[in-house]
Amino acid sequence: MIDISIQKQLGSFRLDVRFRSDRHTTGILGASGSGKSMTLKCIAGIERPDSGHIIINGRTLFSSDERTDLKPQKRRVGYLFQSYALFGAMTVEKNIMAGAKGSRAERRERAAELIRLLELDGLEKKLPQQLSGGQQQRTALARLLASQPEIILLDEAFSALDTPLKERLQYEMLNILSDFDIPAVIVSHDRDEIYKMTEDTVIMHGGRVCAHGDTKELFEHPKELETAKLTGCKNISPAVRTGSRTVYASGWGCSLETSYEVSSTVKFVGIRAHDIEACDGSAVNSVRVTEERTLESPFEVTKILRTDSGGELWRKISRDERLGVFPKTEYVRLPPECLLLLE
């Protein structure tokens, strides 16, 4: 469905992205400056790669070998901007009609249909600045669907919204994408958004793809340092292989047993904050720590712990676990099956 290879030099930054995906929704997860938005702009034809190819549903949009470079107008790629990019001087109806093709009557009919489907009834004659954030996004989406795209690109489409609205719109978006049966590429720096909305995930760092795979699999078993960081692993230490199933974590000053075979290329070991357990000091992989600070969130508590060697460990405990019964100094256990071995 999507087959891209994009190379582009931007000053000292080099973008070199290659991936293929035939899943319905593909996510690109990366920090700001990783090149994920530039990748989307290349797919839409807003930016031009130096070399490579972009093939969507078997149609070549760009190919440096074949000297193909379709204009954005011919690509049938729907781009949803973070700010929605609604035309301020046009009403909701006119905005949607601007995306449609055909005679005036046909475009009006198409707009009326989308207004009904996206529940924008009664707002036809309103200007974009008179709409709420959710209505603006639905208008932008209706305008984009009116142009009958073969693929939809979402560029940080939910990043500027507050949490309750964000969750509502993500849910609506998933419904629309499956109702209209249009594949989507979703770019975000928000791991929750990528996890919730995509089947396939590409991790980008420094202009390159550093991991690509099934979303659930990638979040559960990250294999690279950047993937672990971007999927939310709070505790990472440099590591040296000391045996087939043991590593020495120099950041925390301890030897750890693992449930998986340690490869010779391992460079880091990580553990997610909610996988760390309290213990009495005699268990496997127990580490002596001093409690430094407690951060409270509505549904969980984060303990910032310091190991004897000066390393830091973050532990997350959900609210319903014996709250407030922790002694000041404690032992924690890093369960062997939860350790992430990273390259």
Binding site: A44, P72, Y79, F81, A89, M90, L144
Partner: protein, 232 residues
């Protein structure tokens, strides 16, 4: 005083307005086109061309007038060519009034148009293109409406500058009553002739026009003013 006012020849008012209206038509179109063209130029070339186009705004109008006089004098090649070839003369003629006013007012229109275009969010342009709109449609339906308040207020400011032009006009077009004497030129010559009542009358007229112009700019760009009042 009453006698002086009753005998005023109103031709300077008509010449001024006629000059302003004809100039603004040229200036609006040329300023818009120049602003659009300059935006597509590469970096360094852009700044040089931009500086050249802005010069009339910072030069003393008499310098601009003198340069125009040198260029279009009937004793010099360009002037001779236009006169003999096309029967066009700028020195001491109403066409000279229009040329002088246009040259002086042009930078105001050009700079306003550039600022208005630069404020258009590029994402709107990209959105138009990915939706399949042609480049012409993007220009007419997206860019121009978004830039409209800036373009209109630029046009009004340039019109105001054109009707108030004195320095370049007096150098190039001179001071021929009923032909090239505009209000600004009339005030200067009435004062030097000691006719303070007539000068005062024209001052009141031009002040009223200027006030109406600024008021209308404020009404058009009112949104921006509201934002500023939020700082206080």
């Amino acid at each position: 005083m009453r006698e002086a006012l009753e005998n005023i020849d109103l031709s300077p008012l008509f010449i001024t307005m006629k000059t302003g209206i004809v100039s603004i038509v040229f200036v609006f179109i040329l300023g818009l086109a120049a602003a659009a063209a300059v935006m597509y130029l590469p970096g360094r070339v852009k700044w040089v061309i931009d500086a050249v186009l802005t010069m009339p705004l910072v030069l003393p109008p008499t310098v601009a007038g003198y340069l125009l006089l040198l260029l279009f004098s009937l004793r010099r090649p360009v002037g001779i060519f236009l006169d003999s070839g096309f029967d066009i003369r700028f020195v001491q003629t109403w066409a000279g009034c229009v040329l002088a006013a246009s040259v002086i007012a042009f930078p105001l229109m050009y700079r306003s148009a550039r600022a208005a275009f630069e404020q258009v969010d590029p994402q709107l342009i990209y959105a138009g293109r990915t939706l399949g709109m042609s480049e012409t449609a993007v220009m007419l339906k997206v860019i121009v409406p978004e830039a409209a308040p800036g373009l209109i207020s630029g046009g009004i400011l340039a019109f105001a500058r054109a009707i108030g032009e004195y320095g370049a006009t007096s150098m190039l077009a001179g001071n021929v009553l009923g032909k090239t004497r505009t209000i600004a030129v009339a005030i200067a010559s009435e004062v030097s002739a000691g006719n303070f009542d007539t000068a005062g009358f024209w001052t009141a007229v031009i002040t009223a026009i200027a006030f109406i112009v600024i008021l209308s700019v404020n009404l058009i760009t009112g949104k921006g003013m509201k934002k500023i009042s939020g700082w206080l």
